[in-house]
Symmetry: C2
């Protein structure tokens, strides 16, 4: 076997698939990357798969014959990133003329030196799942980036919360709706960019947040006008973008009917500057973090202002005031400061709106520009 | 009490002294920063002291009366860095008109809000040691930066190694010599810039590396022509630079007579490119790190080249070749790859020289430009 490729291609593609290599593999071969060299297409395809998330990518190479092998992902990555730019040749042991060596060893030859790495048989490597579906949905990367960027933060990070550890994606006429909730807050984004095409209206799927964070990373380096193809069957979802492919298991179970959680009417409304509120939250969070993360909002209709306060008795207390347009009666209401900060960070634009009823009922935050996004936060009960 | 200062001044000076606040204080008050407000000089002096390292700095403020107090360093720092630019007012509880509050509380008032923090009495705060010495040494920051930057890395990080956890500084005619060793390698730098003045020729002191790392940080933001004043007595060393002062305990015990460790004659010499060698070391280190950190150097007089190789049997092996000017016989010799990388990183300039005798004897690395530096590394014994 003899493969010749550029250091840049190998480095870029290795670092991409390496994200699906588990840090503590349940089976040794899962710590490796699968190489599939194809003499016909003159390409190398790299695959990494932790049995849930799979990443695959291809790049051009001189390939003298079809060959498959696996090499340890981390070690290979560490070496390739440090090799000088230029050509890299990969040789199998039979070409090395060294029969004493392990049959799964591969030698990397660069301008300045050579590295032999011991691999494992490609036969042991599990296959990426195939999607048995005809329909496919085309989604522009911009719509995908908007939807993921504004919902992923709200998904639960507790494995036990199962379906809530994912983002729920629903196809609606000309748009896609993304939703994520951990039971305390809910983010819903509706992306209605042109270019969403294909698949029936019925598409509805919950996709693990972990896989979607990798998808987010994958599309970040793409051109704005690129389009991702989404396919899914009963068990798996696949995203395809050029030579790159990401597969993941779907999350089973019924996703909560979140639309019924969002109040339709509000008795109070506050409009204020987003960055100003975020800065004040970051300030009071210093004290709130010392206690129970609770910040009290005092909506003051008379003075047209919002005051944020935290009282961490034994340590200290803090208060910030922000001018705001308030309609409806004054009210005191409390929140987990971290939830508010998470949401305000992904909003775009300068002004936001907060809509509420009573101190025990859900509150809605909306950006007034940019994304079509609804962020619902459950208040915390204030003790007197 | 009423103090008014700029957020920028308070932030900058707090972050400077906070480096001497222990993360786990042995006494609660050591987790605080001492404020000394002086109505006469219209300055606030901040002090942090972990009983070994002390940092002190002053900055202008409106001070209505002399006052001392302490506030929790981390919390205060977290708040002040997030406050908007502009004036900050610090009020004592008596000015707040709130007798119910703790007497050591201080309130920070900014344009947008107010934060009350509970402090502790300044009486509990230990005093920074005074240096009872007449003589002082003036050292330009450039000389100090050179000396520290090229030796600190070689000091031992093991507390048990006592005197080896410091850098040894010796005054020699018009220069200062800095030396550090952990028993496996030794870095010696002679800084002979103009401007080193004062103190007798006899100055010889071992200073804890931890304190010197803070000194390095302190002088990094200074102008090149700034001058540091060094004072020491039997127990303490102090560095003064403008309004800033760093004090530390000296390390007791006799520092090894390192000059006698440096061979005077060599039978072999290798001259090569520093970055080329460093790149190759970083490459073979990927494999060496998997085993015992050992890299083998094969100095090849006939081909005028140096080959680096690592054999991590069960994982793989690697080899890099670099062209070099070799005088003397060919030789195989082995090193801890990390020691070599540490040294080559602080060298400046492009070319370096390696001087050696036998495979079991100390090897000297020198930069051919820039610093006057000697880096001695003990080889590792090669097993056949």
């Amino acid at each position: 076997m003899k493969l010749v490729c550029s250091q840049t291609d190998l480095k870029t593609n290795l670092s991409l698939v390496s994200r699906a290599v588990p840090s503590r593999p349940t089976h040794p071969v899962l710590g490796n990357v699968l190489f599939q060299a194809n003499a016909e297409t003159q390409q190398i395809t790299l695959t990494a798969f932790d049995l849930s998330l799979g990443l695959q990518t291809s790049f051009p190479a001189q390939v003298n014959e079809n060959h498959t092998f696996t090499l340890p992902a981390k070690l290979l990555n560490d070496i390739v990133t440090r090799l000088p730019e230029g050509e890299i040749t990969l040789l199998g042991m039979e070409d090395e003329g060294d029969q004493s060596q392990d049959e799964f060893s591969v030698t990397l030859v660069s301008a300045s030196g050579r590295f032999r790495l011991r691999g494992m048989s490609a036969e042991e490597y599990p296959s990426l799942p195939e999607i048995s579906s005809d329909g496919a949905l085309q989604v522009p990367v911009e719509a995908l980036a908007d939807g993921l960027g504004a919902t992923l933060f709200a998904a639960s990070t507790e494995e036990a919360k199962q379906v809530l550890t994912g983002v729920h994606v629903t196809r609606q006429q000309d748009s896609l709706e993304f939703a994520a909730t951990d039971g305390h807050r809910l983010a819903v984004v509706n992306t209605s960019q042109e270019g969403i095409e294909g698949a029936s209206d019925g598409l509805e799927v919950t996709i693990p947040a972990r896989a979607l964070r990798e998808l987010e990373r994958m599309i970040r380096i793409q051109k704005e006008d690129a389009v991702v193809t989404l396919r899914c069957d009963d068990v798996q979802v696949a995203f395809e973008l050029g030579q790159q492919r990401l597969t993941t298991r779907k999350l089973d179970g019924n996703y909560p009917d979140y639309n019924q959680l969002i109040p339709k009417q509000f008795s109070k409304q506050v409009t204020l500057e987003r960055k100003r509120l975020l800065n004040s939250l970051e300030l009071v969070a210093v004290l709130a973090d010392q206690k129970n993360n609770v910040v009290k909002f005092s909506v003051d209709s008379e003075n047209q202002q919002l005051s944020l306060s935290v009282d961490a008795q034994e340590i200290g207390s803090g208060q910030e005031s922000i001018s705001a347009q308030v309609t409806g009666d004054s009210i005191d209401i409390a929140f987990n400061v971290r939830y508010l900060m998470d949401g305000l960070k992904v909003f775009k634009g300068n002004e936001i709106q907060m809509q509420l009823n009573e101190a025990s009922q859900p509150v809605i935050f909306n950006p007034l520009e940019g994304l079509k996004m609804t962020y619902l936060v459950m208040p915390v009960q204030l003790r007197d």
